[in-house]
């Protein structure tokens, strides 16, 4: 670890904090079919980690293991260990609802609730009992919209439906909703694939700011996006984690030929 810190500074990168998520020997099965094989990975705190790889490589499956979204699929079985700040997230005694508050998620297609902008944010804190008074809740809603860079754009129509916003605004609303439950980790599954370049840039700028306080994992098909936003990149292929490293190293000098072939567009 010491060595890694020195190396990152030597190449002009900021030193990474210790891992907040530690996955060991993770295997995932959908019925008889194995989707992930022995995945070991450390995800550093307050940094952006990108998961890349061709469709069906297991990157989204692995992402969904991190907040136990796979529990909702009856035939899905997960083995191995995933620790979040030292706590085993597959511990049978663990409250999954609480876990999902700590590990928020943003999806490919913006999916605001069919409610007002205000209610989209207020819903989570309310059911988790994070605020005591209406005033506190109002403040929290404003804070989250502010952090998501959306407050200016929506402050005069807080009680209009969230679905009336543009695609990019809806996605930032979903990010605001994710941070409303004060998570430690935000998972993003292709958050910009339905957005135009301007909306994408706004989400990327937002990610940059959010990483000061949150650990972010993004699954993306855009190599350029992974290169732009992340500090760590992990490459998945055929259900295996092939290589994980500093983003700069992965995109200038990957160690594994499969990584190189994928990011340079040589996959047959």
């Amino acid at each position: 670890m010491e060595h890694q810190v020195v190396h990152r500074e030597a190449i002009g990168a900021e030193p990474l904090q210790p891992a907040t998520i530690i996955a060991r020997n993770v295997n995932v099965f959908y019925g008889a079919k194995q989707a992930l094989f022995n995945v070991d990975v450390d995800v550093p705190r307050n940094a952006i980690t990108a998961f890349i790889g061709p469709s069906g490589c297991g990157k989204s499956t692995f992402l969904r293991c991190l907040n136990r979204m796979n529990d909702t699929i009856p035939i899905c079985k997960v083995t191995g260990k995933i620790m979040l700040d030292g706590q085993d997230i597959y511990d049978p005694d663990l409250d999954v609802v609480e876990l999902r508050a700590r590990v928020g998620m943003v999806f490919q297609k913006p999916n605001p609730f069919p409610k007002s902008i205000y209610e989209n944010i207020a819903y989570g804190p309310r059911i988790h009992g994070l605020t005591r008074t209406k005033k506190e809740l109002d403040e929290l809603v404003e804070q989250c919209l502010e952090k998501a860079g959306l407050l200016k754009e929506v402050h005069d129509r807080m009680h209009e439906p969230g679905t009336g916003l543009s695609g990019g605004q809806q996605q930032r609303l979903c990010i605001a909703r994710a941070i409303a439950t004060r998570p430690d980790v935000i998972l993003m599954d292709e958050p910009c694939s339905a957005l135009d370049p301007i909306a994408t840039a706004k989400v990327e700028e937002l990610m940059d700011e959010l990483k000061e306080n949150y650990t972010i994992i993004i699954v993306t098909h855009s190599m350029q996006q992974a290169a732009r936003v992340s500090q760590r990149t992990a490459f998945f292929h055929l259900g295996k984690l092939v290589e994980v490293g500093d983003t700069r190293q992965i995109f200038t000098n990957p160690r594994d030929k499969r990584t190189q072939d994928y990011i340079t567009g040589r996959f047959g």
Partner: protein, 238 residues
């Protein structure tokens, strides 16, 4: 050979880049040889040809630069492809400098064509040119074949050029001290030698670039430096 890119036109563009670098390297080699030949034979007409020939190198440099900028904008190369286009961009500028140095030798050849040249210096310069050309050819082969070992070999061999330059430097100082009337001629020859030493340095740069291109890492150990003339004083005894 690595696997081909899915997009064939991308593969073609990368290959074209190498063709252009090879052509440019070939021209630089040829012009340097021709410039020295003009000097040795005291032939102003040949010197003029070597001077004019440099234009083709400059044109190629611009062409490669434009292609690389276009590829960065349109293809966003990554990993070895990124190292490939960056290497081409840097090598092209070293080759252009080598072309300029060859042109400068040709100009000096023209200037001193009327004068009689000291034979030992000319043969010393001849050996230097031979080695510089060999180094340049080897490094261009190393680039074409993505051969990091040969690049290191070139990188190490540069000290031999430096050593030759040192000895010519001392020899020319001696001529100048013995006969002040030879100072004009000797200075031209000294700059000629210095140019060859600089060609060696640019070739060494290319070797470092080739190493980075192939291995993704800079050459790690320190290169022995051979040129100590910058700390040498006229009249000192060492």
């Amino acid at each position: 050979m690595p696997q081909q890119h899915i997009v064939k036109s991308y593969e073609d563009e990368l290959a074209l880049l190498d063709t252009k670098i090879a052509r440019m390297g070939g021209l630089a080699e040829h012009n340097l040889g021709q410039a020295f030949d003009a000097l040795q034979r005291r032939d102003p007409r040949q010197a003029e040809m070597a001077i004019v020939a440099d234009q083709a190198i400059d044109v190629l440099e611009k062409d490669i630069e434009e292609q690389v900028i276009g590829m960065i904008a349109r293809r966003q190369p990554l990993a070895d492809d990124l190292r490939h286009v960056m290497a081409a961009l840097k090598i092209t500028s070293d080759l252009e400098r080598i072309g300029d140095l060859a042109k400068n030798i040709a100009k000096r050849a023209s200037a001193i064509a009327e004068l009689s040249h000291p034979k030992p210096v000319i043969s010393g310069l001849g050996r230097m040119v031979e080695l510089a050309l060999h180094q340049l050819k080897t490094v261009l082969d190393a680039y074409a074949e993505r051969d990091a070992e040969r690049a290191i070999e070139v990188w190490r061999n540069d000290q031999r050029i430096d050593a030759m330059y040192n000895s010519l430097f001392r020899e020319l100082l001696t001529y100048m001290m013995e006969d002040p009337r030879s100072i004009g001629l000797s200075t031209h020859l000294l700059f000629g030698a210095k140019n060859l030493e600089r060609v060696g340095d640019h070739t060494t740069n290319i070797a470092e670039i080739v190493h980075y291109l192939v291995r993704g890492e800079p050459i790690s150990d320190d290169r022995p430096k051979g040129d100590d003339t910058s700390s040498l004083l006229v009249g000192s005894n060492d």
